[in-house]
Structures are given as C-alpha cells and as structure tokens.
C-alpha cells in the first residue's frame, strides 16, 4: 500500500464525519475543497499549485465567456489549456527529438502532474458548455471544487459541471442506501483491480501479461498473440473499471453520483457500440466537443469518416504523446469507419442475416478487433506491435504456442468467469428480482474484498490510468 492510499483511508472518514453536521452548502463545499486539496497535495505540492492556477485561470476565462460568447475567447481558453497540457504531457515525450542540450534535458525531466489530462478536459468542457450557452454560474469556490474534487481529479470519470454543480449545491444527508451502494461499488472495484493485477502478474513470476509484453515477444505464435491481446484487454478493463467502481463508490458514501465510465463494454456487438460503453466519460467528451463540431463543418461522407478517424487519433493521443497511441487511435477510427461502410452496404443491398446468426457473429468480430487493437496500446514499441500483429495474421503459426499453459488457463478462466458473472446477474434479476444479501454476509464479503485489495494489491502503480 502506498502512503497516498493510507492518507486517503485516514482523511476520508474524518471528512465524512465532519461533513454531515455542517448546515450550509458553502461550508460543506469548503470542507470538500480542503479535503480535495490535502489529498491532491500528497502527489506533490507543486502539482497542487498548478491545479489551483489552472482552476483560477479557467474560472476567469469562464467569466469572460459568460460576459460575451465569442469564438476568440473560446479559442484563447482552448489554446491556454492545450498549451498547459502540452507542456507537461507532450513536451517531455518530444524532448528526444530536439538536439541534445540542457534545454532538451530539462524538457525531458518535466514531471507529469497527477490527473492533468482529466482535470484539463474538465476545464475545457466547462468553457465549451459556456460557449454553447449552458446555464452555468459557479462561484469560485464551486469551480475550484469541480476541478479538484477528490474522487475524480486523479483518473476521472471526466465529469461535466452541469452534473456536479446541482449536487454541490444540495444539502445532502447520509442515506443508508447510498452507503450500502458505495461500499458495494468499492468492494467490486477492489476485486476487479485484484483480478487485473493477477492477469498482469500471472500465476508465476514473469509469466503474466505484463511480464511477457515487457520481455521478448519474438517467436510468438497466433494463439500466443490472441492470449496476450485478450488478456491485456481484460487486465486494462478490470484495472480501470475497478478503479472507477472504487471512486464512484467512495463518492456515493458522500452522497455524490458521478457519471459512469463503463457499461459492460465487451458485450458490444459493433465498434460504435463499444465506444459508448468503454471509458464513456472521455468517449462522450470527444464526441461532444470534437467529433460533432468537426462533422458539422462539411456534409460530405468522406469528411464524416475523416472526422471520425481524427477524433479517435486525438482519443489515442490524449493518453500519451506517442506514436503507438496515435496508431491505436487510428486503428479504432478505421474500425468505426469500416463499420459505417458495412452498414451502408447492408442497407443498400438489403443484406439481412437472421439475428441468431448475426448477433454472435458481430460480437465475435467486434470482440476480436477491439482486443487486437490493445496490442498497440500495450506494446513497448511499434516494432513489437507489428511483430505481434504479423504473428496473429500468419495462419501457419496457429498450430503451436510458446507461452506457458497456465497463462492461457488464467486468461480463459477470467474471461469466462466475467461473462459467466454477467450472465448469472441477468438470470438472478430475471427470476428472483435480484439477490438480497443480509448485512452480516455483506460485511463478510467486504472483508474479503478489503483483504484482496489491501494485502494483495501492489503499490500506487496498481492503477494503469495513473500514468495518463
């Protein structure tokens, strides 16, 4: 467990106890802001200074936009925010392209402030919403809290002010239902994160997904690549969705409802559907503030496709300024375009297979294509990614495997276990109206989750999205 995790475990219950006796919204907001700043400061005082500067700057830009909604003012806000993000996120990645000097070394050593990609996108969404004449009138305190709100500031979900502001202004009361739901979500998150770590670390040292990606991937066969691609897809899902469960659950304990980030994405039967179920807060941000404004510029079909690809490349680059992430975005963009073309062809020629065949077939193609894309997301280099994809495409290499059998078994068990859990949940809801768990059993389950989460999870790097 990291120092930061311990601080969260100590500070949040204290803040929870102090919150409810406060009767005014302002004092509650102030308490939440102090808590958020105290927790964020544990990642670095300089980072906190940067967050406050960005918050004050965007609040000022917001006032200016509210007074007069001009494109110039919006662009000023966009440029300033992108410049801030670029300085801390993309400049260090590009430093090696500069001639070797003290300046390039300084650029390379710029540290990435925790959650900068998330809170900068929150700030941008505020400016866009104001430009679109949304009724947003936060006080400085409310806006500072929106930017630094402790559940979302590190790794999202990227919330909109329009969804948080009414909650900041409400005098919430501790509700048993919220507390129960909050703990449930935290426990589910802890379990999922532990499963993600199990996939990453493997059953034996060096035999997990991460160990194999970080080692040599020469000589991999088709089944190996599929095992790694599907395994990493689930590792990332368990990890990020698990983290999201934890923060949404923690927010629930304080009475706040955050936007969901995942909705069983691997059940999607088309790439378009997948992107409405995976990292939804970022996906919807890109759709609302990049894709839709772009697509409105021209009416031609090719432009729409290009806008789709550009949006997905930006989606990829949001993670990291690296060629692999641009390629991952490009790949996803092409998948979306291909899906659109396919649907147009279907409509034009009126191809219609029975749903019993079309449904599973679509799911298999979508699942396979999405999983294969994770190779770009996780590979250490472009060469490694293409070597792996070549192995997956080489049908002669499907007769053997080089990875240990226990990794195949682990991936298969967790993937089947995940789909089995979803299926059994549906059956339970259908036939018994949901499962009622007695309080004592609930405490026992929480205990198992805490054990798995606290004693079996490694350090801060437990959460993959902290690096973005």
């Amino acid at each position: 467990m990291s120092s930061q995790a311990l601080l969260y475990i100590i500070v949040l219950p204290v803040a929870w106890l102090l919150l409810w006796p406060l009767k005014s919204t302002r004092s509650r907001q102030a308490l939440l802001l102090v808590t958020s700043y105290a927790l964020y400061a544990s990642w670095g005082l300089k980072f906190l200074g940067l967050l406050i500067c960005s918050s004050v700057l965007n609040y000022g830009l917001g006032i200016s936009l509210r007074r007069k909604q001009s494109v110039a003012r919006l662009w000023l806000g966009i440029v300033l925010n992108v410049a801030l993000l670029g300085t801390f996120k993309y400049l260090p990645a590009m430093a090696h392209l500069l001639p070797h000097s003290s300046l390039s070394t300084s650029f390379a050593n710029i540290a990435l402030p925790a959650g900068i990609s998330f809170w900068t996108f929150q700030a941008l969404s505020y400016l866009f919403d104001l430009y679109r004449e949304e009724e947003l009138d936060p006080s400085l305190l409310e806006f500072l809290l929106y930017m630094a709100f402790w559940p979302t500031v590190l790794s999202g979900p990227i919330c909109r002010l329009s969804s948080l502001l009414p909650q900041f202004r409400e005098i919430l009361k501790p509700a048993a239902e919220n507390i129960r739901h909050g703990f449930d979500r935290i426990c589910i998150g802890l379990f999922m994160t532990a499963l993600g770590q199990l996939l990453g670390g493997g059953l034996h040292a060096g035999q997990g997904i991460d160990g194999i990606f970080d080692g040599s991937t020469r000589g991999l066969t088709g089944p190996d690549v599929w095992c790694l691609a599907i395994g990493y897809g689930f590792e990332l899902f368990f990890n990020f969705a698990g983290y999201t469960h934890i923060v949404i659950g923690a927010a629930y304990l304080f009475g706040f409802r955050l936007d969901e980030n995942f909705d069983r994405p691997y059940l999607s039967t088309t790439p378009s559907e997948f992107w409405t179920r995976w990292h939804m807060s970022l996906s919807f941000w890109i759709r609302d503030y990049l894709f839709l404004p772009l697509v409105m510029l021209r009416r031609e079909a090719w432009w729409r496709s290009l806008a789709l690809v550009v949006s997905m490349v930006v989606f990829g680059l949001w993670h990291k300024g690296a060629l692999l992430f641009a390629l991952w975005g490009l790949y996803q963009g092409i998948l979306l375009v291909l899906h659109r073309q396919w649907r147009q062809l279907q409509r034009r020629y009126e191809w219609q297979l029975p749903q019993a065949i079309m449904g599973p077939l679509s799911w298999i193609v979508t699942f396979g294509a999405i999983c294969l894309g994770w190779v770009f997301f996780r590979a250490r280099s472009v060469t490694q990614a293409f070597t792996m994809l070549r192995a997956a495409a080489d049908l002669n290499k499907y007769a053997s495997r080089t990875l240990p059998a226990n990794l195949f078994l682990l991936v298969a068990a967790l993937v089947l276990g995940y789909f089995g859990t979803i299926g059994s949940q549906r059956l339970l809801r259908k036939y018994s109206g949901g499962l009622t768990v007695p309080l004592e059993v609930r405490f026992a389950l929480y205990s198992v989750a805490v054990y798995v989460g606290v004693f079996h999870m490694a350090q801060t790097q437990a959460f993959i999205y902290f690096q973005f």
Binding site: M1, S3, L6, L439, E440, Y446, V452, F455
Partner: protein, 380 residues
C-alpha cells in the same frame, strides 16, 4: 429499540469483518505456503533448539524459506560436487531476496556456469541471528554432514554490540538479541503481522523514522542502556579472536576458509538517503550511537583484512567492491535480489582463481565429494 438492533447488527458485522480478514490471512497462508490453518505460524517453525543453540529444523518451511533434510536453506546435497559452505547470519541466509535468489544460490549458478557443468554446490549453513561463537561450535557437525572443501565466512558484526551489553548487565533477559527470542502468544493473529507490514510500506519514511527514534529512546530509558559512542576495543578483540578460532577449527577439519568483508548500504561519505537505514539500525541496537555503527563496520572489516593477511586466508573484499544504496540493500545490511546477484558475482570472481586447481584435480579423476583441498591455498 430499532436503533439498538441496528447498532447490534453493525457491531456484529464489524466482528465478522475482522474474523473474515483473519480467515482470509490463514487461507492465504495455506494456499501460498502450504501452512497449517490452525495454530501459530511464524519463523520459529524453521528452528529447533539443541545444546549449542538454535539450529535449522530439517525439512521445515515458513513462507518463502525452505530448509532441506539437513536443516539448511537450499536444495538437498548433490553427490559428486565440490561443496562450499557459506557461514554467516541473516545476510547470508537471505531475507528479502526472491526465493532462490539469495547470494549462495546465485553464487552456485555463477560458479557452475563458469565451470560449464554442475561441479559446485553451495551449502548455505547460515541462520538469522547466528554468531561466530556458535558457528565455531557447529564446525564438526557441518563438516561431518556436508564434507565441504571451502567455507566462505561472511560474519555478522552486530552481534558484538549485543555481547558487550550482555557482559555489562549480566541479566538473563538480555542474553540474546531482541529478535531471537519470542514469547509465544496463546492466539497468534496472522492478520496483525500483515497490517504491520502494510503500515510499514505506507507510512512515509520520515514518520517511520520519527517513530523509531521515540521507540529507541523508550528502550534506552526502560533498559538503562549505557549508550556507547563506539564499540569498545575488547569487543573488537573478541571478534578477532573468534575469527581466528573459526579459521583454526575449519582448518583442523580440512576445510579451507575464505574471508569476506562486511558490506552495508551506507555510502562513503554518507548520502542523504542513508539516514533512514542508520536510524533503523540504531533502533535494533540502541546502545550504540549511529556514528559508532559506521566506525564498528570499518574497524571490524579492518580486522577481517588483517586476519586474512596474518592467517594466510584468501580474502574477498566485498565491503570495497559492493555498490551502495537501496537498489542493492533492502535495509542496512540485507541484500535485495539485485544486491545478492552483485554479491554473488563478487564472490565468484574472488573464488574462481582458488577453484581452478580444484577443478583441475577433479578433472584428473580424484573424488570431489568430501575431498580436502591440498592446493596450498593456506599458504597464499
């Protein structure tokens, strides 16, 4: 009434919560280490008591530590190999390294890779808390069981601090190091240890250091320790005498000793990061000031070098060759897996010239197992 019922259920829930955590910890032990579910489970199960002191229990296993059928850490003896025993304490036994990565194991792999076949076997006869006087008494037993050709001596120096206190106070309660004796609780919670470890990881080092200092001051006050600026010369003399006795005992049994100086995490001069392990060290031995530890290390390493020269014993100067810092040491003196690898390669480099003639004899058809070296190394 309804509130009271809810309160009762919540209290019951909390009890269940803690109990399930304890059950999880025990199941974890069963699954990970094949440990018993019931009863206590700690490092004491690795040890047995005999007339000399604590010694390895044959075939015992605790967490990642596995002893062989003779009670030594590592695999079973391999017939036909040239055996080298490693004599020492916890640094040699291995605490923080991944299983199979303690320096004796890495050294064995290194030497066998150098010789091109499985010629050598390193037998790790060290234990946590083992001192030179007990090692001397163990020599006949070790030789009879293992028939080693060489003994690498990597002595624990800190035990001489404790000896000095024992001499001054003459109390039974202080006759052994603090960690060596453990009172057996009626209920040994496995959860408590894990919580302690998690807190150790999570608390910032500055906070941990402050807590260590408080605990150290308390212990000094409660035990009335006389705090020493430096280790008294008679202790260093005792160390010199013990080393010579061990060398003589090994030679009397036909085993060729090789001395190794003691390496620590501390840079020379001290780095800023060295203050945390220095305080950790002081907490274990509160009777000697921090500067006194570094002085002790230097003086005792000088004794090792001088003894090697006087007794014509081959010397490997790990103190001068080992890099310093937390990458190589998990605490003051115990190696990380990386550090154990470096230590193994330093030892291999030092041993290879000595082992060349031994390899030559083996190649000439003389039996290696139980063979006594007559290569004249003692005259070096």
């Amino acid at each position: 009434m309804k509130r009271l019922a809810i309160l009762c259920r919540l209290c019951l829930g909390l009890v269940i919560f803690v109990l399930v955590l304890e059950v999880c910890a025990r199941i974890d032990d069963v699954v990970s280490y094949d440990a018993p579910f019931w009863g206590s489970y700690n490092d004491e199960i690795l040890l047995r008591q005999d007339s000399i002191g604590k010694w390895g229990r044959p075939g015992a296993r605790y967490a990642k530590w596995q002893l062989n059928s003779l009670g030594y850490r590592g695999p079973e003896l391999r017939p036909g190999s040239i055996r080298i025993v490693t004599v020492g304490a916890s640094e040699t036994f291995g605490l923080y390294e991944a299983p199979g990565q303690e320096y004796p194991r890495q050294l064995e792999r290194g030497l066998n890779s150098w010789s091109g076949k499985d010629t050598f076997q390193i037998v790790n006869v060290a234990f946590a808390g083992e001192t030179l006087p007990t090692s001397i008494l163990r020599v006949p037993e070790i030789v009879e069981e293992i028939h080693p050709s060489y003994a690498l001596i990597y002595p624990d120096l800190s035990s001489y601090i404790w000896m000095s206190v024992k001499t001054e106070t003459h109390t039974a309660s202080e006759s052994s190091a603090p960690n060596a004796s453990r009172t057996r609780a009626t209920f040994d919670s496995r959860l408590a240890g894990r919580v302690g470890n998690v807190l150790k990881q999570a608390l910032p080092s500055a906070v941990q250091n402050a807590l260590r200092r408080v605990s150290m001051r308390r212990e000094i006050a409660s035990r009335h320790y006389v705090v020493l600026e430096r280790l008294p010369e008679d202790r260093v003399g005792r160390f010199r005498q013990d080393l010579r006795t061990l060398i003589a005992a090994l030679r009397a049994h036909g085993v060729e000793p090789v001395l190794v100086t003691h390496a620590t995490v501390f840079s020379k001069p001290l780095a800023k990061s060295d203050h945390v392990p220095l305080t950790t060290w002081r907490k274990i031995y509160p009777m000697l000031k921090e500067e006194g530890f570094l002085d002790m290390e230097q003086r005792m390493n000088d004794v090792i070098r001088q003894t090697a020269a006087d007794e014509h014993v081959p010397l490997i100067d790990a103190d001068r060759q080992m890099p310093h810092g937390p990458k190589y040491f998990a605490d003051m003196v115990h190696f990380t897996t990386v550090g154990a690898g470096i230590m193994a390669s330093i030892l291999a480099d030092g041993l290879e010239p000595l082992l060349n003639s031994q390899l030559q004899k083996t190649a000439d058809g003389q039996p290696a197992d139980g063979e006594r070296p007559t290569t004249g190394l003692s005259q070096q």
